[in-house]
Symmetry: C2
Subunit: 211 residues, 2 copies
Amino acid sequence: MTVPQSAIEFWFDFSSPYSYIASEWIEALAARHGRTVRWNAILLGVTFQAAELRSPVDHPIKRDYTLHDFERSARYAGVPYSLPDPFPIPTQNAARVFWWLADEQPATAAAWARHCLRAYFTRNVNLADVSQLKALAVEFGIDGEVAEGVWTSPEAKARLRRVCDDAVAHGVFGAPFFVVDGEPFWGNDRRGQIERWLQGGSFQVTAHGDL
Amino acid sequence: MTVPQSAIEFWFDFSSPYSYIASEWIEALAARHGRTVRWNAILLGVTFQAAELRSPVDHPIKRDYTLHDFERSARYAGVPYSLPDPFPIPTQNAARVFWWLADEQPATAAAWARHCLRAYFTRNVNLADVSQLKALAVEFGIDGEVAEGVWTSPEAKARLRRVCDDAVAHGVFGAPFFVVDGEPFWGNDRRGQIERWLQGGSFQVTAHGDL
């Protein structure tokens, strides 16, 4: 009898290019190690505030580098990408639909996340625009009025607030953020470390040299 | 006749764990691709101010993660590491000696950098303590009084200020920071991208899936 392995926790924001890139590799990486992924849509605005951080594109000098690095990191991962306009955008409506699906039809929530992330980062579909988001919902197979009813409902708003507060309470200060067996990893660029962690314990210090 | 390849520019701060880790792999990586490394000691305080950034350990929530990630990233790279106490520290004296060597005995400057980084991050030698830094200089083969004469001299202070201002003017907002053939890379975690860049152009976008 094998012990069931715990899921990889994956926090993402719909307006985060590094979250989008990670969303394209996390399932295959997990599957290679017999793991599943629990997707968690959050709002980076909430975690930035809790950790007293600003977006990397809100800093002088760092902004230009970061915009370039989004695109280069996507190419490095082999993921189609183009910087959307406008960027960044508020993403609470897409996130509320995500959590409604996670509660009502859990098998479809991650697919909705991928649908929205790909639409924003490869087809410039503005997730903050109500009519564009309704059209995306219809494409996905959700009635547009039903989707709008979700993102305007007090329950969905409260649900997302609770999720974001929980994320902060768990130490999440950015996205993408992962927890594997209690071990936290922040950033698309921790992919190699996550993979080695799942391979089991070759995080060993060697002597100086020969690196 | 082969065209000489340009050096990899490498900016580091003596109190930056990620700079220390990168200092342990950058020479071997460069050598694998027939490149040399031009080491540049800077003060992160100057670049943080220019980019309106704070140290990752100065943020609530992010601080605990970052201290853990320093240590895990060192293990991932196979580099001995222990968090020094005190941390972080002012490093202008070590940096002034670095630039004095770079100007006077260029072949030894990188060795001084490695000597100091290893002392701070594996033997808890406080580079901000004048007597400890003088002892390190003696270990390295520099007379202690000569070293102190360097780091108290107006010329060395002006030299380091100029270097930091130049770094900011070149878009450097953190450390480690690398420029390869004009392409900027920030962070110890860009090692894989730098290596692929030097291998020449396999930053190609593939289709979705199979990542």
